[in-house]
Symmetry: C2
Subunit: 307 residues, 2 copies
């Protein structure tokens, strides 16, 4: 028995007696009390009502709060929480190498070394959603791009749920009115046939406004703070739903939610820069661009939306 | 200055004086002598001729011997040698995570935990070529299959060089008369756009005959032992040549050297088993199989050649 079990028993809002809990899990009443104290330490308001406990409120951050909102989701079955962390992706990757299973989730209050694409820094102050989940999908490395696509769609869905209308920018950002609100970073280890593990990381400016150009946050869009724990859980529930579905469904929802397709874009690859109209993504997630010299397909590039 | 520098200076077969070497590198004569002793410890015969040193023979194994045969090759620019190692792929991957650069090569006398595909064991007794090289290619994960294809071709070329006529079996084995002589295992770490590093590992039954069914070795095919260090270097020189060339050239040479294409095959994926004729590989390295139900394309599967 742990604090998560107590939380689960209290989750329907009713009053549960300490004696009942102790009996159910075969532990002492004192052990139950300690777990309740742990919940209180993490910001849960647990009312002592006569002989029983009742859950009055959930904090808006922390591992147990995320776990609470995840319900029976497979992603986030285990949640590791840090106030401060170098990078949730790095922590999750290390956990995966040490054997962490599908769904193992790392959540942080802030990141001191948050990572973006191509080794770039990702500013991650207190107030944002910084979370990385270990996946063990049955995919080959050439199919793994679906994870990035699905994660972007999951973020857009979760934002829509709280009333923020967001668009996906190829390859891995989510924007509101062309301002960055979230980035997705998928890292994986594989042999030539199979992905051993993937880590899908989320940098979502929930109530944080990073000091970078062209960025926005959920709080800024809504005019009030959002429940970070609930939002984190919402993204990973949507991601689970998408990964349970077909690749085709992910691709078509990505296309529908994309702000890149149909736009004039400036593409910068390691070797060159070119301009054109973003026409589509192919089934590997590569961007198809119509240019004056014909169709170009790029899988690794920076893409800028032009006015 | 190190023993490798001394080796390089002696590599043209001439006599070089210790004084000359000491002056050239700005070290003491005693330091030069110590490096010569190291070469002797590793099995090099270095003759003391008057005031000078002359290289009389090269051992058939060891890091310096591999380095010697690699010449100015970029792959194997650094070589780490172990008599005994768990798995050269694991050691190379750890080195890569610690920052080892493109071409960093790990060679072992034998492996105690050699890895095959899908976590299978790869028997790796003394006498074989067990070697793994770190690559830092400019490839996306979906393009990375070219590394496995190129490595198989490199092995077939190197075997041809020593007089062994080998065929490539999809996805990653090299056979002589349908008996396994070599396996290739590529493992990689990537984000959704770019491979951070790949490790290409080689298990080649040079003078070792693993106690498994349907296996052969170079020694068995030739009737005499082969120089393992020279063979190791030869494979990685060929691999470098192939990776410097175009993907199309790798694919077409793979097709030409393949024993799978045109054969009746039994395909076993994680989900099902089917039979057909191996028709081609597509440009991602997936196998195209003609079956009674039409064309099937498999990227992760076991493939058995049928009579």
């Amino acid at each position: 028995m742990d604090a998560g079990d107590v939380l689960q028993q209290l989750s329907d809002g009713g009053t549960v007696s300490g004696e009942e809990l102790a009996e159910q899990y075969g532990v002492s009443r004192n052990a139950v009390w300690k777990h309740v104290e742990k919940l209180r330490d993490e910001g849960f308001e647990v009312e002592s009502a006569g002989d029983g406990y009742r859950l009055d409120s959930i904090p808006d951050t922390g591992g147990l709060a995320v776990r609470y909102h995840l319900g029976d989701s497979e992603l986030g079955g285990d949640v590791e929480y840090h106030e401060d962390v170098d990078s949730t992706n790095s922590v999750a990757a290390e956990a995966a190498r040490d054997g962490a299973g599908h769904g193992y989730l790392v959540v942080a209050g802030r990141q001191t070394g948050g990572k973006g694409r191509r080794g770039r820094e990702w500013e991650s102050p207190e107030g944002g959603v910084w979370a990385s989940c270990v996946l063990r999908p049955e995919l080959s490395p050439r199919e793994a791009s679906v994870i990035t696509l699905a994660a972007s769609v999951a973020v857009a869905r979760a934002l829509e749920d709280v009333g923020v209308d967001a668009e996906i920018k190829w390859p891995n950002d989510v924007l509101v009115d062309d301002q960055k609100i979230c980035g997705v970073l998928v890292e994986l280890e594989a042999d030539s046939e199979s992905v051993h593990y993937a880590v899908v990381g989320l940098g979502l400016n929930a109530n944080a406004h990073p000091d970078v150009e062209d960025a926005t946050s959920v709080a800024e869009e809504l005019g009030e703070d959002v429940d970070r724990a609930r939002l984190t859980a919402s993204v990973f529930r949507e991601l689970e739903d998408l990964l349970d579905g077909s690749r085709e469904d992910v691709l078509s929802e990505w296309r529908r939610r994309s702000g890149t397709l149909g736009r004039e874009v400036r593409i910068e690859t390691p070797d060159e820069v070119f301009w054109g109209t973003a026409a589509d993504i192919d089934d590997t997630g590569a961007l198809v661009v119509d240019t004056d010299d014909g169709e170009r397909v790029v899988s690794a590039a920076d893409c800028e939306h032009l006015r």
